[in-house]
């Protein structure tokens, strides 16, 4: 054992000397961060034939990935957001039959709930938007809504059903992508953090230098620690989960006021956003806070969030909550992720800033990033996500 350790150390030292002398990189690409975005990027890069290492200090999918809901959503906030979410949703659909049971893929569909006539007008607008882009949707009037979700309160106006939306259990989804990548040749380096990125590779928290042709920063809300100029802010969220109540909830339900709340950049906000897990559990969200870096569960936020949920679904009040937790979304100024070359660098790429859509858009992110690095054509336009847009007017 001792002999082995010594050998390994010597080997590493030799490697490093070789590197510094001749500059021959050990890896084609190093991915910093083993959340779902990092895992998806690593998988695409190894599939493209590159020698890739992924560095993750803790548990694969243990950060914002584990904290998230796992809603595979299509969104219409902007054309760019639609393109990315839809592209990724189709990639998830293609993958669905291969996902192991623990990923808990559940094609439950999503229902945007309209509280009044004004929100019903928004339902119509969304319906037209999606129909023009070949996304299957259905408008539900108040009766159809009550039939689709009998536990919603009475008096709601209706809703829009997005049948292609699905949910997954994020940590296992990330682990699945990681396992696939390792099977395809990825070097997974757990228990180490990247502390420095440069044009020729990265430095780890134990001082080791790893050289690579490209580096991908996929550390979510913490991206600014590696690339200080990046404009990503942590945005805290709370979630709660219940015990198992099969049949209580059938679709992912989101109030139409959600986007209004989700994209307000100053005030703390809560929205009605509940999700049926394949286990029969109900995941209850959501909250958004800026300027908080303490991960502690805050009772006032939980109270507000649950209050909002109970306003929409009164019978939730009697269900048993098992856990509450928090996480940090990586928020960008324009609510679009940063995918592409990091301004000021030649070899450092960003795949971060996915806010609440990291699980949804992870697969598309992996594709676009790999396309960029390899100068391949992409299925959708990449310009809206290029990091330089947020740096230009910084």
């Amino acid at each position: 054992m001792l002999v082995q350790t010594c050998c390994r150390t010597i080997l590493l030292r030799d490697n490093r000397e070789v590197l510094s002398q001749r500059g021959a990189p050990v890896y084609d690409a190093i991915v910093a961060g083993g959340g779902i975005v990092g895992a998806a990027c690593a998988l695409e890069l190894v599939r493209a034939g590159m020698r890739v290492a992924l560095v993750e200090p803790s548990v694969c999918g243990g950060g914002a990935t584990a904290a998230g809901m796992g809603h595979l959503a299509v969104m219409d906030d902007s054309e760019a957001q639609f393109a990315l979410t839809r592209y990724s949703q189709i990639l998830w659909h293609d993958l669905a039959s291969r996902l192991p049971a623990d990923v808990e893929y559940f094609p439950c569909g999503a229902l945007w709930v309209a509280a009044d006539d004004q929100e019903m007008a928004e339902v119509e607008r969304k319906h037209r938007f999606y129909r023009e882009r070949d996304v299957p949707t259905r408008v539900l009037d108040k009766h159809a809504l009550a039939e689709a979700e009998p536990n919603l309160r009475e008096g709601l106006a209706g809703g829009l059903l997005l049948t292609d939306d699905a949910v997954v259990y994020p940590p296992c989804a990330a682990r699945f992508l990681m396992t696939e990548a390792v099977a395809a040749g990825l070097t997974f380096i757990p228990g180490r953090a990247v502390t420095e990125v440069g044009e020729n590779g990265v430095r780890l928290d134990d001082g080791t230098a790893l050289s690579s042709s490209f580096t991908v920063v996929a550390t979510g809300a913490m991206a600014a620690k590696l690339v200080p100029s990046v404009r990503i802010q942590p945005r805290k969220g709370h979630l709660a989960i219940t015990d198992r109540y099969p049949g209580f909830l059938r679709h992912q339900l989101i109030e139409l006021g959600y986007l209004k709340n989700a994209h307000s950049h100053d005030a703390d906000s809560v929205s009605f956003n509940v999700q049926p897990r394949i286990t029969g559990q109900i995941l209850i969200g959501s909250s958004r806070q800026y300027g908080v870096d303490d991960p502690a569960v805050e009772r006032p936020m939980v109270e507000k969030m649950l209050q909002r949920a109970v306003e929409y679904m009164p019978r939730l009040a009697g269900l048993s909550a098992i856990r509450c937790w928090t996480g940090f979304r990586a928020a960008t100024p324009d609510n679009l992720p940063l995918i592409g070359l990091c301004p000021g660098y030649k070899n450092v790429y960003l795949a971060a800033g996915h806010e609440g859509l990291g699980i949804s858009t992870s697969l598309a992110t992996g594709r676009l990033l790999t396309d960029l690095i390899l100068h391949r054509e992409s299925a959708i336009a990449r310009e809206p996500y290029l990091p330089e847009r947020t740096f230009a007017h910084a």
Partner: protein, 77 residues
């Protein structure tokens, strides 16, 4: 004595016992079915293991070992 309904059957028990004890006294050892379909019964007897969960008065996931029986109680196990 207290009369309650266990799976629709009216049964009487002495006052002051827990639902878990009432179930066991009535000869019912299985309290619930686990998530993979196994029969399960009480284990810790002190409210921490959650194996003794039953539906009490329509409320699922109630810990039978920490709940005293009441007149007219409706238990599903």
């Amino acid at each position: 004595m207290i009369t309650l309904r266990l799976n629709g059957r009216a049964l009487s028990f002495p006052d002051g016992i827990t639902v878990a004890v009432a179930l066991l006294q009535s000869g019912q050892l299985t309290f619930r079915t686990s998530v993979s379909g196994e029969p399960r019964s009480a284990v810790c007897g002190m409210g921490v293991c959650f194996e003794c969960r039953v539906t009490i008065d329509g409320k699922p996931h109630s810990r039978s070992c920490q709940t005293l029986i009441r007149e007219g109680m409706e238990i599903r196990a």
